[in-house]
Amino acid sequence: MNSIEFPLFHRTTQNSVISTTLNDLSNWSRLSSLWPLLYGTSCCFIEFASLIGSRFDFDRYGLVPRSSPRQADLILTAGTVTMKMAPSLVRLYEQMPEPKYVIAMGACTITGGMFSTDSYSTVRGVDKLIPVDVYLPGCPPKPEAIIDAITKLRKKISREIYPDRIMSQRETRCFTTNHKFQVGHSIHTGNYDQGFLYQPPSTSEIPPETFFKYKSSVSSHELVN
């Protein structure tokens, strides 16, 4: 069960001295300047942030933390990912341009960690959301362990073959269907003064007339005081 398959590719590139040297050059240039995204959700970020300081400087490896995913090529998922955060994480990952790498940092992002037994909202492992290159165990991993993971990732990048990477760029498997769900207007319209638009439910104890009277008589700045 869970069988594997090696799909056949039509490899048209030849391996020559020049192409392998160019390949090594491009791999070297990429691994020497991996820019991580400044991303952290919980405790593991403290360890990641301590890498930026002077004691465990990670700028000596070429890592400059970037705030925008468009400029980053590595995401160190530092911290627990909950189901609320999951779409945002996938969106950040999708916004990063190729080539991009992921290090799953800490036990929470590998298998759910301490939340894997009873939590109702933690995602058990970030590889259910995004493809992971290096798994880094620890709760939290020491900064030296993070540097070890970055070193392993650099070694992994140095083994990459550029034509394989280009060839594996995929077609989108897209399928659209109609649905018959109820589409409702969102209550978050951006208007603060919702007193006149509010529809109270029929089971509320406050009768609607008194509620509207209170709303219209007290203006908003008086309510703040």
Partner: protein
């Protein structure tokens, strides 16, 4: 033993992985079933007839998904302000469901068409997908959407559908109908490591009524 035999067998079976062919044939179902002539292109009619003859016998037990008419001039549009200007989605590793219409070729993301749900299947290529297995997942998706008819269009419903589809993909993997793609950049085996000598169908327990 079973899994290694099946992997050898699948390697012997030449699956067409030519990008041109899969791209071309993916467009075919939408064109071949539509009766209106507005979308039919002249150069593809010949190929359609040939492929229709090839696909004359459908896969046993699998319903073909109902195709949607392909649209032209789709532009990326956001949801109207009345609906919160948000986008509704359920995103996991293999299943991305959006409450929008996504054009298959240009990837234009039109969110104003709120009566449509689009499923993007396995964008990271963790599995090897063929036309038949894709259609199995698409028809399951359609059954789920029909089953959830009448429920509100919220992220919660989309996530319910998404997790059901993930369970279905896992079931397909356990039964050996889809396989992990060993040419992927990362080998996560996110639905379980490959095991030797274990077949899912052998160990399924039957429901025992008199116990």
């Amino acid at each position: 033993m079973a899994s290694s035999l099946s992997s050898i067998a699948s390697m012997m079976n030449w699956k067409p992985m030519n990008k041109q062919e899969t791209l071309f044939s993916k467009r075919k179902p939408a064109n071949s079933f539509s009766i209106s002539a507005q979308q039919v292109q002249d150069e593809t009619t010949l190929v359609q007839q040939q492929e229709e003859e090839k696909e004359a016998k459908p896969v046993k037990g699998v319903t073909q998904p109902r195709p949607v008419e392909p649209q032209v001039n789709v532009e990326s549009k956001n949801m109207g302000r009345a609906y919160g200007g948000q986008w509704l989605s359920s995103t996991t590793r293999h299943v991305r469901i959006f409450a929008a219409y996504i054009d298959p070729e240009t990837c234009a993301f039109d969110q104003t068409q709120m009566d449509k749900l689009t499923l993007i299947l396995d964008p990271t290529d963790e599995f090897v997908w063929t036309k038949e297995t894709c259609n199995m997942v698409y028809s399951y998706f359609q059954e789920l959407v029909d089953h959830y008819e009448g429920s509100p269009l919220t992220e919660y419903t989309l996530r319910l559908i998404g997790s059901d589809i993930e369970h279905y993909i896992r079931k397909l993997l356990y039964e050996g109908q889809i396989q992990y793609n060993m040419n992927a950049r990362v080998l996560n085996f996110s639905m379980g490591k490959p095991r030797v000598g274990f077949s899912y169908n052998e160990y399924r327990t039957e429901d025992v009524i008199d116990q």
